[in-house]
Amino acid sequence: MRSDAVEKDRGGLPALSPRVKRMLVSIVLAALCAIWVYPLIWMLFASLRPNAMIFADEGLIPSQPTLENYARAWTEANMGSYFFNTLFVTVGSVILVTIATAMMGYVLGRSSFPGRAALFGLLVFTLFVPQGYTIIPIFELLSSLGLGQSLLGVMLATTAGSFVIFVLLFAGYFSQMPDELEEAARMDGVGFVKTFWFVMLPLSKPIIVTVIVMQTLYAWNDFLLPLVITLANPSIRTLSVGVYAFKGENFIDWGGMMAASAITIIPVVILFLLLQRYFIDGLAGAVKG
């Protein structure tokens, strides 16, 4: 039902129609967003400058635009070939993480099994302990499992990235779902697993989408672990490892780096655009008065 027609502003402010109000909001938002993304627009234009001109004080629009950085980014970072490796790692870890965290979050959010509080505490605790240098044990573990040099190892280890955060998000979301849904299902004789799979999971679309986007982002950009694992076998390297070709110890290929970044963020942005209608399509409508 569209509410525009009936909606009235009784707040006492000049009575603007909702449509006009939305227009005004849009204009304000457009202005704010322009400022918000200005640094990134700058980056985009900078990626079209020759390296010698990146720091030139010549305004936003490059005076000698070139696509050279993009050509270099594509070949130097082996983007064509590393794309599929990254895709494998990303898709695999997204599937694993989404399923595992949804199941865990569901149980944590909706059931009071013995040990729940302890598990919650443990999850939160691990969040707090800085993870920056756990690369050594993770790598040694993967090596002892025989996964120290395989893309599968990268994929599995990547699942840990934001695991706990996702579990907490699912748990929080499921805990907010009305109990009637589950009860209705139980009365209809639908089992635990089926209730989860057919009733609850589809309703958690906003979180699923969030997890997919965030995990994609993480897997797409994770650097150190893929680097260590693929060291001996360049043919299984991922994009983020390839992009590192632009950052030497003393030399930085600014243009190449910006062009490579622009290229690598495109798939994530497309994913975000495609999935985002689900952000605002969750429980709403599921609970009928």
């Binding site: 502003d9 009784r10 707040g11 939305r22 909001v25 938002l29 993304v37 200005y38 640094p39 990134l40 700058w42 980056m43 720091f55 399923i99 865990m104 569901y106 149980v107 099994f113 013995p114 598990l119 939160v124 605790f125 691990t126 969040l127 707090f128 302990v129 800085p130 993870q131 920056g132 240098y133 756990t134 050594i136 044990p137 573990l141 599995l156 840990a160 695991f163 579990v167 998000l169 929080g172 979301y173 635990f192 679309k205 906003p206 989408v209 969030t210 965030m214 982002l217 950009n221 992009v243 950052k247 780096m257 910006m258 970044s261 942005v269 975000f272 952000f279 605002i280 399509d281 709403a284």
Partner: protein, 315 residues
């Protein structure tokens, strides 16, 4: 005796009735145990060693690293800075992103998809690039931010955002908020989906104005979710690292050295002059984690209290 036995049986019975739930935990526990718990235990063990991290010479020294930490003023300074950083970023990030989320949660707002994407863009941009771009944006030498501030008459002299020890941490906090607000917005958008749309509409029909809708209807409904989001934001802020490392390396003179930068500096000795001390760095990480956990437990207790109050009110 008999009583404990019965209690035991009851407990086992409870466990048994929940066997499906436990089964559901299995995939998650595999990932959690292997890639999170195990490395964490390993680094807890490292924290008891004198170890560079790159040789086979690990000397077990008990709690010596922890004792040394207690007397390390740079550790405590970094500790404090992490909290200051969190105290600045978390409220700002939560509030800004919540307002954006509420405004953009309107299905009838055209272009909202575009706006969401634009807000989200900094999230996907690599930190290395943000470091370069922001150094240029904020430069006191013809940087756009300073030009705008000077033109508007807010300042009379260009500000050295990254070089002034008093400005550097707030500046990094602002960049951090800018970079990560998109994520929090997404979390809020998800949270807002637990608010039935009918409620939004009903509120609008009743003429309650926008902010009142937000404060009196939406906020209480998403409160438990808000706690999770706050927790996540706080943890991310406490563990901020790549952004600061890329922009200031914790400088000038430690003015922006937060905990993770301290840990990195001791764990890998990137300057090359010294041998890394992985054991010591691990101790710092573990100590920091435990300290915050204590605070978190307090938070959880508070949450539970809040929830029970809410429930009793609802009945």
């Amino acid at each position: 005796m008999a009583q404990t036995f019965t209690a035991h049986a009851v407990f086992l019975d409870r466990v048994w009735t929940h066997w499906k739930e436990y089964l559901f935990l299995v995939p998650g526990m595999l990932i959690f145990g292997t890639f999170i718990i195990y490395p964490m235990l390993a680094s807890q063990y490292y924290s008891l060693l004198q170890w560079t991290g790159f040789d086979s010479n690990q000397v077990f020294i008990g709690f010596d690293n922890y004792v040394a930490l207690l007397g390390d003023s740079f550790f405590w300074d970094a500790f404090l800075r992490s909290f200051v950083f969190t105290a600045i970023t978390v409220p700002a990030q939560l509030l800004i992103s919540l307002i954006i989320a509420i405004v953009l949660n309107d299905r009838l707002l055209r272009l909202s998809a575009l706006f969401r994407t634009l807000i989200f863009l900094p999230v996907v941009t690599p930190v290395a690039v943000i470091g370069i771009v922001m150094a240029i944006m904020l430069s006191p030498f013809n940087g756009p931010v300073n030009i705008a501030l000077l033109d508007a008459g807010f300042v009379t002299r260009a500000l050295d955002f990254l070089g002034d020890p008093n400005l550097v941490l707030p500046t990094l906090a602002a960049i951090y908020v800018w970079k990560w607000t998109g994520v929090t917005m997404v979390y809020w958008l998800a949270a807002l989906q637990t608010v039935p749309r009918e409620l939004f509409e009903a509120a609008r029909l009743d003429g309650v104005r926008g902010w009142q809708v937000a404060v009196f209807i939406i906020l209480p409904m998403i409160m438990p979710f808000a706690i999770v989001i706050t927790l996540i934001s706080a943890i991310s802020a406490l563990n901020v690292f790549p952004l600061i490392q890329a922009m200031t390396q914790g400088g000038p003179f430690f003015a922006s050295e937060v905990m993770e930068v301290f840990i990195f500096r001791t764990a890998f000795a990137p300057g090359g002059g010294a041998v890394p001390q992985l054991g010591y760095a691990s101790a710092a990480g573990v100590f920091f984690g435990v300290a915050i956990m204590v605070l978190t437990i307090l938070q959880i207790v508070a949450t539970r209290h809040l929830r029970s109050v809410e429930r009793s009110r609802a009945v």
